[in-house]
């Protein structure tokens, strides 16, 4: 085939895919989610430039309701809530990303191994992972966090323990079904090594679901992190953290300090919504037939 024709064809098909993406409801959903995520990422990266005050020191009177100088008001120590919410996205995103990476780094290889090798190893791993999976995620994270103590990595590990089984299950189930597909059989028949098969044939096929699970897990990880720090098991103060700020705000709720709980809460909601929309849209787009039954 003539090379230019091929290139033309390729660009045309990419164009078509894009148009289809934006015309479909799931495409719009994923796009909205992506926009939210980008805004939060920018806020986290450029917090120092955007924030009007240092989030950890007093910048005005305590308990100021939102006004022109402190658009989100101030907390009980006179710290600027807007700056704290802004910096809070750093901790939230940082811990969520590290947690999900650890979970994926543990769950994916184990899932590949378990699904590909099968046999007793598979059965034992499945049993253990299912047990962990069935345990209430937050309570598991609480237990691990209680033992490990505070700190970004410790919190991330606590959350990762909860989500590693998710990756394991998704990957393992897909691998054990792909394993029996004809093209893998064929590769084996022509003498391909196990590792080659895993990396060249199996992994590319499970990647789309990994991306979806990844973005879903980021949403959940942010929720768990907020929960842990709300319970006092998160990052040590005075580091700005949404969950901590919420529990701090709750102490003064009878004083009607609505701004102290409203803004960190809305930040969590919008960010989690961003990840949910993104993953949901992506999921429906990538696997149109699995969306209905969860």
């Amino acid at each position: 085939m003539d090379r230019t024709v091929e290139v033309k064809f390729l660009s045309a098909s990419i164009g078509r895919a894009f148009r289809k993406f934006f015309r479909s409801g799931s495409g719009k959903m994923a796009f909205t989610g992506a926009v939210i995520l980008i805004i939060f990422l920018l806020a986290a990266v450029f917090a120092e430039q955007i924030a009007p005050y240092d989030p950890t020191v007093r910048s005005g009177k305590a308990f100021l309701s939102p006004n022109s100088e402190h658009i989100f008001g101030t907390d009980n120590l006179g710290r600027d809530m807007f700056s704290r919410v802004l910096y809070g996205s750093r901790i939230a995103l940082l811990i969520a990303f590290i947690a999900v990476l650890i979970a994926a780094a543990v769950g994916i290889p184990l899932g590949l191994l378990s699904g590909y090798v099968g046999g007793p190893l598979d059965r034992v791993l499945v049993l253990i992972m299912d047990a962990v999976y069935s345990f209430p995620g937050l309570i598991l994270a609480i237990a691990v966090a209680a033992v490990l103590g505070t700190g970004v990595i410790n919190i991330a590990v606590s959350i990762a323990v909860v989500y590693a089984p998710t990756y394991f299950r998704v990957i393992r189930n897909q691998v054990s079904s792909i394993k029996s597909e004809l093209y893998v059989e064929a590769a084996k028949a022509i003498g391909a090594k196990n590792w080659t098969i895993l990396l060249r044939y199996v992994l590319p096929n499970v990647l789309p679901s990994v991306v979806v699970v990844l973005s879903m897990n980021l949403a959940d990880a942010i929720m768990v992190e907020a929960g842990l720090s709300f319970l006092g098991l998160g990052i040590a103060p005075p580091t700005p953290d949404w969950g901590y700020d919420l529990s701090n705000g709750q102490r003064f709720i009878l004083m009607n300090d609505w701004w102290m709980i409203m803004f960190p809460g809305l930040a969590i909601i919008v960010l989690v919504l961003g990840f949910s929309l993104f993953s949901e849209g992506l999921n429906e787009y990538l696997n149109p037939n699995v969306g209905e039954r969860e």
């Binding site: 069935s134 995620g137 309570i139 609480i142 709300f230 919420l246 809460g265």
Partner: protein
Amino acid sequence: MSLKTYIIARILLAVPMVLILLTVVFVIMRVIPGDPVLTLLGGKAPIEVIEAKRHELGLDKPIIVQYGEYLLNLFKGDLGKSLLTERPIIEELGDRLPATVELTIMGFIIALVIGIFWGVEAARRHDTAFDLSARVYSIFIYSVPVFWLGMVFQLVFGVWLKWLPVAGRIPPLMEPKHITGMYLFDALLTANWDSAREALRHLILPSVTLGLVISSVFVRMVRGNMVLSLSQDFVKAARARGIKERAVVYRHALKNAMVPIMTVLGLQLALLFAGAVLTETTFSWPGIGTYLIQKIRYRDFMAVQGAIVIYALIVVTLSIVVDIVNAWIDPRIRY
């Protein structure tokens, strides 16, 4: 297989699950941490005191022996003594359990009612604005932290409108006679209407908070499975027999959709308990969740371990219950 045989088989199948969960708890609580005694007593305690405490708790024995004793004691229903209060942990948890059960049951019922009605109606009106509202609701509410929703309710109904109390289970000295420990239930049983009203007033905000947050998953699951169920041949066939629409939707379609719903629900009940920990903390609800968090603050690791074990047992019990209900709904599971 009769339902009875199925139940026995299912309970036996749960044994390895329980063992694995208990092992996981043990590994987390005993193998990972450095030294619980050191953290309990602080770094400045004399070495003899620390050693004595370690010996008392059996922590100086080899880890495998500790594991054996841990399982053996659990089997005997002994969760050890609280390092702080010196009371048997099982008793302390027993005092707290009814509060958690009361809250989760109410939350579950609220979530179920919302989930079934909204989910079913959305599925019946598949691809309409109403259907869209159900999807938007479930995505949105899924993003709301349960403790934040609780605070907003406290603010609106407790602080602004002053309609409902924001914390606790009941005013002092109004506790009903102890039967189950669930105040609302006990008060109703003993016809103690004042207590019942107060118990209910305290229960409304926490249970609605929990129920709303959990309902997200319920709406989603019911809707998805009902869309599939309503498109089945037997639903059309039932309509063709002149069965009333309500019966077609609820008796035929929903009951069939319940089996996959219940299966996922079994796993989602874990979500309910995780949400309950946060809800309890938000509303100072004296259940197992607040117990767990308090004990973590006091570094009472035996009590923490006990609370986690109880959660593990609750989860396993519920998964058995879910499977049995499924087998009861759908005879095919039994055969």
